[in-house]
């Protein structure tokens, strides 16, 4: 059954290529479809001979070269470092604020307008503001990543807690549970599926924020590499970087999904 996530207050059935939950046969078919596209790309790349559309094999070549020469390692490490710090901040703040909003109606009503506004605003527009506040330091990167991922986590967490089956809360009340007990023993576990969906969305967004910030600052990380190769018109290498970032996004998503599966085995 499709897992649902809430973003901007909406529900989203999440789908990834080669989803881990699909039956084997579907996976093979999708793989074949992708392969077909790759072949098409290869053919077009050679026949059209456009500088901006290198054959797919060239892209793979660049990728292999990256790995072999180790040039990519430092940049990946820097990028991931920023990603981890930023995402962790978003996680802690997001879960906390979201829980408060989900639990206390006053907090929800006080903040919902702003959380929603910040969620639908283009996060990157805050970059100039972050530059003003933090100067040209790594903090700008982190701030952008937080800006990208924080609000979707808040929104999902709040909705998750608010939508816990009231029958369960009533049952716990009937046994004399106090506020704290209801929160820890009913609201928290019951909200996990939806909270995790928000975390997955946040992860995807955080990766985008990471690369966008890095391309803007153009000093460290994969984004800087992409800018450099771009200015050198090395299309194959640029595509290869995009591929690397895609892989990072997929791995991140897979990790969150793995934790989620472990913790929400009881959900259907």
């Amino acid at each position: 059954m499709a897992r649902v996530a809430v973003e901007a207050g909406k529900i989203e059935p999440v789908s990834m290529p080669l989803s881990l939950r699909q039956p084997f046969r579907d996976a093979w078919f999708e793989l074949a479809a992708l392969l077909g596209g790759v072949i098409l790309w290869e053919v077009l790349g050679w026949s059209l001979a456009m500088p901006w559309l290198p054959p797919f094999s060239k892209i793979l070549e660049a990728l292999v070269q990256f790995v072999q020469s180790g040039v990519i390692l430092g940049n990946v490490a820097t990028s991931l470092e920023g990603l981890v710090i930023g995402f962790t901040i978003s996680l802690f703040v997001g879960l906390f604020v979201g829980a408060l909003m989900g639990r206390y109606r006053r907090v929800e009503k006080a903040l919902d307008v702003y959380v929603n506004a910040l969620l639908i605003s283009p996060a990157m527009i805050f970059a100039p503001i972050f530059f003003a506040i933090f100067g040209l330091s790594g903090a700008v990167r982190i701030a952008v990543i937080v800006m990208y991922s924080l609000f979707v986590i808040i929104m999902n967490t709040a909705t998750a807690i608010r939508n816990v089956d009231p029958a369960l809360v009533e049952m716990a009340s009937s046994f004399g549970a106090n506020e704290r007990q209801i929160f820890l023993r009913v609201l928290l576990p019951a909200s996990l599926p939806l909270v995790f969906a928000g975390i997955r969305l946040g992860m995807g967004r955080a990766v985008k924020g990471m690369i966008n910030a890095e391309m803007l600052i153009a000093m460290v990380g994969l984004g800087a590499l992409a800018q450099r190769y771009g200015s050198q018109f090395e299309a194959a290498k640029v595509f290869a970087i995009a591929l690397v970032v895609l892989i990072i996004a997929l791995v991140g998503n897979w990790l969150v999904q793995a934790v989620e599966n472990r913790l929400t085995r009881w959900a259907d």
Binding site: D165, M171, A172, S174, G176, A177, Q181, R185, P189, W266
Partner: protein
């Protein structure tokens, strides 16, 4: 003993004070110690509201609700509820679910485990201790709900149409099981139902309620001998009382429909 005097409860409309609904109006009755009282009435007669008031889950507007002369102000250790839709924690196994009420009230881990094991056995779910609710049938889930309520050793069992979400065959099996358990561990039971057979089969007395607003029409004695079972349903007394209930309920429905037309 549950004492209800002049109990009224109004639900306010969402947009203001003028669209309130009087759910129950000036109820007066008593539930005797260790008696099995079944409550029956058409939709809208406030029986679930009544049960939740006695459970201490919602406040009331007028009257008195007392248990052994002590007014009810909230949920208490003397009462436990069994819910129509089971209300089991989906992430916890059977044993943890059964022990839930005990844990909330601060019992020690060993006590929780011991009591839970005993009750799992009592309701016939031995071997299923580690299963999750989604792996159980409806009837089994409700047995967990019953075990959970019994685990806190309440004086009073409040059951809100506990078998309403189950198919008829499961319902009959659970009725038999409930009677057996109740024979062993006598408690005061208030049992809400929509089914006339169930009301007469299980109850020492049947409280008949009328709708809009909810009022007690009559409390009928059920002088059938215990232990009861399949054969009880064939006795003339059973059939008579059941027919009596149906006549009353039917006329209530007709009145209701006429009122709506």
């Amino acid at each position: 003993m549950i004492q209800i005097r002049g109990l009224s409860k109004e639900f306010l409309g969402r947009d203001g004070a003028d669209t309130g609904v009087l759910a129950i109006d000036s109820l007066n009755f008593e539930v005797r110690d260790n008696e099995f009282l079944t409550v029956i009435g058409p939709s809208g007669c406030g029986k679930t509201t009544l049960l939740r008031i006695i459970a201490g889950l919602i406040p009331f507007d007028e009257g008195e609700v007392q248990i052994d002369d002590v007014p009810v102000t909230g949920p208490g250790a003397d009462r436990a509820v069994v819910f129509q839709n089971f209300a089991l924690l989906p992430w916890a196994d059977v044993l943890t679910n059964v022990a839930f009420g005990l844990e909330i009230r601060g019992a020690s881990k060993s006590e929780c485990e011991a009591t839970a094991m005993r009750l799992v056995k009592l309701v016939g779910l031995e071997g299923f201790e580690r299963r999750l609710p989604k792996e159980l049938s409806g009837g089994m889930q409700q047995r967990v709900g019953l075990a959970r309520a019994l685990a806190v050793n309440p004086q009073i069992l409040l059951m809100d149409e506990p078998f309403g979400a189950l198919d008829e065959q499961t319902r009959r099996l659970l009725q038999e099981q409930l009677l057996r358990i109740w024979d062993q561990e006598r408690k005061t039971v208030m049992f809400i139902t929509h089914s006339m057979e169930e009301a007469v089969l299980l109850g020492d007395r049947v409280m008949l309620m009328t709708p809009r607003p909810g009022r007690v029409k009559e409390i009928i004695d059920v002088p059938l001998k215990r232990p009861r079972g399949q054969e009880t349903e064939k006795s003339t007394t059973f059939v008579e009382i059941k027919e009596y209930l149906w006549e009353n309920l039917r006329s209530m429905q007709v009145l209701d429909q006429r009122g709506e037309a």
